[in-house]
Assembly symmetry: D2
Homo-oligomer: 342 residues x 4
Amino acid sequence: MVRIGIIGAAGLSGRELLYLLQHHEEISVELVTSSKYQGQKVNDVFPELNSYTQIFQPNETDVSGCDLVFLAIPNQASLERVPKLLNQGLRVIDLSGAFRLRDTEVFSKYYQLTHSAPELLEESAFGLPEFFREKISAAKMVANPGCYATGALLGLLPLGELLGDLDRPPIIDAKSGVSGAGGRVEDDVTNYVSVNENFKAYKTFSHQHQPEIQQYLEDLSLYRSANTGEVVFTPHLLPLNRGILSTIYLHFKKVVSPGEIRGRFSEFAESQEFIHFLGAGVLPDLKMSVNSNRCMIGTDSDQTGKNWVIITSIDNLVKGASGQAIQNMNLMFGLNETQGLL
Amino acid sequence: MVRIGIIGAAGLSGRELLYLLQHHEEISVELVTSSKYQGQKVNDVFPELNSYTQIFQPNETDVSGCDLVFLAIPNQASLERVPKLLNQGLRVIDLSGAFRLRDTEVFSKYYQLTHSAPELLEESAFGLPEFFREKISAAKMVANPGCYATGALLGLLPLGELLGDLDRPPIIDAKSGVSGAGGRVEDDVTNYVSVNENFKAYKTFSHQHQPEIQQYLEDLSLYRSANTGEVVFTPHLLPLNRGILSTIYLHFKKVVSPGEIRGRFSEFAESQEFIHFLGAGVLPDLKMSVNSNRCMIGTDSDQTGKNWVIITSIDNLVKGASGQAIQNMNLMFGLNETQGLL
Amino acid sequence: MVRIGIIGAAGLSGRELLYLLQHHEEISVELVTSSKYQGQKVNDVFPELNSYTQIFQPNETDVSGCDLVFLAIPNQASLERVPKLLNQGLRVIDLSGAFRLRDTEVFSKYYQLTHSAPELLEESAFGLPEFFREKISAAKMVANPGCYATGALLGLLPLGELLGDLDRPPIIDAKSGVSGAGGRVEDDVTNYVSVNENFKAYKTFSHQHQPEIQQYLEDLSLYRSANTGEVVFTPHLLPLNRGILSTIYLHFKKVVSPGEIRGRFSEFAESQEFIHFLGAGVLPDLKMSVNSNRCMIGTDSDQTGKNWVIITSIDNLVKGASGQAIQNMNLMFGLNETQGLL
Amino acid sequence: MVRIGIIGAAGLSGRELLYLLQHHEEISVELVTSSKYQGQKVNDVFPELNSYTQIFQPNETDVSGCDLVFLAIPNQASLERVPKLLNQGLRVIDLSGAFRLRDTEVFSKYYQLTHSAPELLEESAFGLPEFFREKISAAKMVANPGCYATGALLGLLPLGELLGDLDRPPIIDAKSGVSGAGGRVEDDVTNYVSVNENFKAYKTFSHQHQPEIQQYLEDLSLYRSANTGEVVFTPHLLPLNRGILSTIYLHFKKVVSPGEIRGRFSEFAESQEFIHFLGAGVLPDLKMSVNSNRCMIGTDSDQTGKNWVIITSIDNLVKGASGQAIQNMNLMFGLNETQGLL
């Protein structure tokens, strides 16, 4: 049994971790923390998490009795806590954005924070198991990917060297449910009357997941922003709870046949438990992936064969956050990668 | 032209006043206030109110250049402001709950406030035009009814002396959209993820509109709580923006024929521009009244003829607040009662 | 391993059965049928049911290789199929309303059908495990309860003999998500634009779950409609996918203390895995039970101590249909009652 | 008073026409038709259209007593009816797609219909008043634009000759509420449970509004598909009733300054009553335009100054259909262009 601690267990990602772990047979949740609810029983605060009778501890609680700690706290808090946990010899999965970007200047620009632990960036594994399985398995520290980055990268990276034939940067028009767009109790951004029956773009050309997509796309493919320009990424806020649909526009410098594109995705999907590639003429919707760890992928092209649309759907709280974190945990502890996940 | 001031014009009721007044041809909006947005132009803050180029003034601004002032501010603020406005010789329509209950002890119990201007309670008119048209027309000060009270009273009072034949108190099971249940930016009560795909009752046996329904029901009918007990009222929060549907359960001590019930409502509806009584077998839904000042009413009974259900639907921001306020204004200034309203 | 067949596996209840059974470790789904999708693979039609590679068979397919057959087909179809299945020696859980009402005249009135197999009514078990556990365990045929009936009965029956002290019939004001109100592809009843941002009552005094509530309430408590009148039941349609909240109004002829009421529910909840009774001052919302087999219960009373409100929430597709069906299956086959369920 | 007939008055666009015309003071609705509701009173079928006591006539009814006929019927029905109405000397505004595309082959490909009245294509005016005001004013027949085409063209055409500097075709990622995506009672496309909490793309590279955008963009700007490729257009279905948000991606071959882009839109907005250009840093959302005839426009660029995003929001039933039709009517009959519209 892997002994687990969850720091920040009462936020949306933390709660989703608790929800999903109910189906996992090889872990025990030893310790949960919440600054807001410390001292209260989990299932009193969240009756839907009925099987949890633990008491929320303060965030600062010592977690050294755990084998693995999930951090589901803000970026700055993760920046400070991760080094301490690693020093204690604990293994960590960090759901914040603090350890995903290699370039600390880019980090500062997009996160408005100074990076206080750059020495950990190299040894952290980026928790996208479909592409970093080995590194994750061996890692002390996994930086769990951003939800938008997960949806975008899973629609791009399977194309492999074909991405070297792009003559324009990918344009990623992404739409997220409220829980993926900062669905916390805040100002009026996520107030019901503001969101319901409404839709909008936000953070155009400035969202912190753009450099994350950019970095791993360059790392793992022949796409080079120096040649074709930076990835264009626009997030939008959908009036629904969960799910991210990413509509990705690609333009190749030569004709690419449906067979080539579909072959790449099919092959990828066959080798990856949580990736599903839809048949010709079928496009994913959010329903296909919500409440599961699946990424659904569909494609279409125009008559020229140069313009392609790749569409991916994920549940931002599962494959885009807590489900993927569990998938990473399974790898780190040598468990079946799909254990506890649908 | 009636010169209008709106204190608290940036809240939900204030904005709805502004929206509706765009269709009114005999008023001019002289002055709008907002503590949050003071100094900003209305149509910069709310692009959908495009025709308003006024600047939001501080709430304390002198409004003595107006003929009529709408107050769309919290109860305590209204309690303090109304006496001052009346002393200045202004006419006032107060959308808060501060001047609706005659009994200041009941007021204290339900509003957790001490009433500082009890002398104004008698001279205020209760702004339910269908039953207080004359008093409103002559009033200096109108206490605009609560949204739930409007929906409930319009389903009960048309029954007239039949209410003397109830052998049990009315049970009012009311369901409101978020804008009627305190849809302001607050804690997590109206957070999107908390409300969407969710539904719940709140303030059982303790909502402040219960004594309002109770008081006017006793004033205007033969129903007596001393005989049959207090009105039972349960509000619920619907995952939608606007509208209140009230399902009212009545039990008569003798058989009441469909003709009797339907006759009362038909007669009432014929004499009231904003009341519509639906044909046999038709029940109202929210769509029928949202974005209008209408109250839709439908009825049904069981085989015994003693159990009746009366269902009313209104738009909580229109007939339940700002539309009714404009209807009251029309009466106060001798305009056509329906001017500017649908 | 229990070998399972599902007739009508592509409807909402059938799909939910498939979804939930993914977590069940002691069954194998041998056979699924669908008239609409026959010949197609389950996970092609419903990508979210990814683990199912079975082909939908025609509804008439021979299911004799199964140990248990779930029927998730219309009432008339169940009426015809159940006798045949029982004659084949199969065990059956019927999710339709065909075998719930003892009185075939009442059945005819509410279902507009003639009952063609009245001989099976007595031997069928009513599948509400909290009250019929033994009969279910031994049954060849279980009539799975209606969704509204489940929500209402679980809020009433735990009160036991206290129900003999009611001096008026219970009033049940129930609100259901679209999947519980006939969320099938039909005329405009469940069309998006008709339902979204809307709310209404339907089938007042005529819904087929009223006699179901009535019958089991009389069977299992001291409540007698002959004394106080028939249960009043009004269903409403909520603009959301899942969940039923039932607001139940009770009036006792004598004062009942909070301790008495709360004691009954606490005791009941302690002995039943899927029943949760909320602490004083807490009322259930749908979120607490959606996607689980739980029924959440909360209560409140007025100052007289005679007026009580009992509120229950369930997921209409889980505890109100397919989850409860699995709970019944577990009982029938001697499995852990909670196996596969949350 | 303009005497108006509406053929197909009970569909979504027809009903919206009726709703909006309640505020118009210089028209009288002489005649409304509906095949589904013929013989019934409008306000019996649609209680929210309370002021209409007309009886729905059959669609084939003679409308020769009208000055203007709105057609809100399917494409094939418009194709057949329009020539007859023009032959009777009536003026017509057709809300279908039958007379928008100049090229009958393109029409056949996208509409799967043979064009039976190509001789009318040249004399029809395309009803986008901001660009075809004169032709509309003089027209006998106006082809009211498609909802997506309206949202896209109003975000592109104001850029004028700058569009000649594009080195790639515009990519239009559009998201529409259900009423704009065929919100009629149909198969499961618009079924509540299918749409709610869901989101998807549809008709990639094949939607009939793509050639409409393409044609008018080439007609009115220096953009040439022969040089840079065809406009890429992807519609998506939002879980809400009304509104279209179009995110338009442009890439210029040279740096374009914010001043240039913003100057174009500002100038355009100043001269057009229903166009509003948002200040720097502000992006439109649907709330800003829903229930009005307004198009809201916002822009942003990346650091290179070559990548631009233009975002427009409209109400698909108002500016995207019935409001724009009324705007066209106002022009055709010499009325104030904004009469009856917000």
